[in-house]
Symmetry: C2
Subunit: 211 residues, 2 copies
């Protein structure tokens, strides 16, 4: 397997974390988004949407969308329950993550982390709204689905554990903070998410970031 990957992107880190927790070997292919790597004709063949991550399977199939890659890799493991309702709840949190957390919390982290906006003046309403839904859920139970760690927890961890980098006061969300620690205690947990490099800063970039 081969992962087309950008080190500072939580969408990519989620896949790296899952591969580590499943003990899967793969080749990592760095894609310099702000260096223009996704703008080439070659990259359009790999992903016409010009995004990362992309997983190339051993059969040479290209899989895109981090949520789809996670579901594909976790099939048959305890991270993706067989019970139809629990499985539907895992799907639910994966879609929630992509529609309500990635564009808000992830967007803020990008704007602040690349010097486009000051942490203090960035608009935080939509991020806080999404985090409140998560805080409510995690005030009830230790994990998002069922009574153990699943793909839902892994997927949400990606952007939520760096929400503070976008200027969000995480002390407002004590249940989320306890849950973040619970995720960090899982077997084979690792964190190799990087900060944005210099070429991602405003004025230096050649591409629109989407990770």
């Amino acid at each position: 397997m081969r992962l087309y990957d950008y080190a500072p992107s939580p969408n990519c880190y989620k896949v790296r974390l899952l591969l580590a927790q499943l003990g899967k070997k793969y080749e990592r292919v760095p894609v310099d988004i702000f260096g223009g790597d996704t703008l080439t004709d070659e990259y359009a063949q790999i992903n016409p949407g010009r995004r990362v991550p992309v997983l190339e399977t051993d059969d040479g199939e290209y899989l895109v969308e981090s949520g789809a890659i996670l579901l594909h890799l976790a099939e048959g493991t305890s991270l993706l329950p067989d019970d139809p309702i629990e499985r539907a709840q895992v799907y639910r949190w994966l879609f929630f993550e992509q529609s309500s957390v990635y564009p808000t919390v992830g967007g803020l982290r990008f704007l602040v982390g690349t010097g486009r906006v000051d942490a203090g003046s960035a608009p935080k309403g939509p991020s806080v709204q999404a985090l409140k839904v998560l805080e409510g859920r995690l005030s009830e139970d230790d994990f998002l689905v069922g009574d153990s760690y699943t793909l839902a927890d892994l997927a949400l961890f990606g952007y939520v554990h760096v929400a503070d980098e976008g200027g969000i006061e995480m002390a407002r969300f004590p249940a989320i903070q306890r849950w973040l620690d619970r995720v960090r205690e899982q077997p084979r947990f690792m964190n190799d998410l990087e900060s944005f490099p210099g070429n991602a800063r405003l004025g230096a970039s050649r591409s629109i970031y989407d990770g």
Copy 2:
């Protein structure tokens, strides 16, 4: 089963279409978003995210996120393939729909359809970019995944078939237009999507629309 539903929302229509194509009986519970129905304490119990659609199962479980509801209902049918790669591609298009089509194409339709923005002056770049990815895929094959109609086609149909209501020139996308007709020819196809009612117009609304 019970569907908490808003008639003008393609996210809700997708679920109604799937239920019709699977021949499933259910009770439809209209939720007047702009009348404040999602702002009550009762609705927060059903969905803390205060969105539609919500599917209440026969066991009294509440499922949210249209993509999760579709995957749950289609499990075990030909609309959701067993083959791991085809299944991953269905996931891929469902995530693409929620992250790249719903906020762009769906957002435009809302802004124009409720009188918030003129069709002519609405910013169409992100919508066109998403539709180009779809056009490219549908120039290669008749359906999005494999060689027959799947959940991926159903899910994308929801917002794409009304993209013109947001002021997008669909003549630019001939492969999409032929595919829309192919979807309309599927067994038990139906379309009961409604236009936005008067209370959704700017100044009349009490709630932020999310459908």
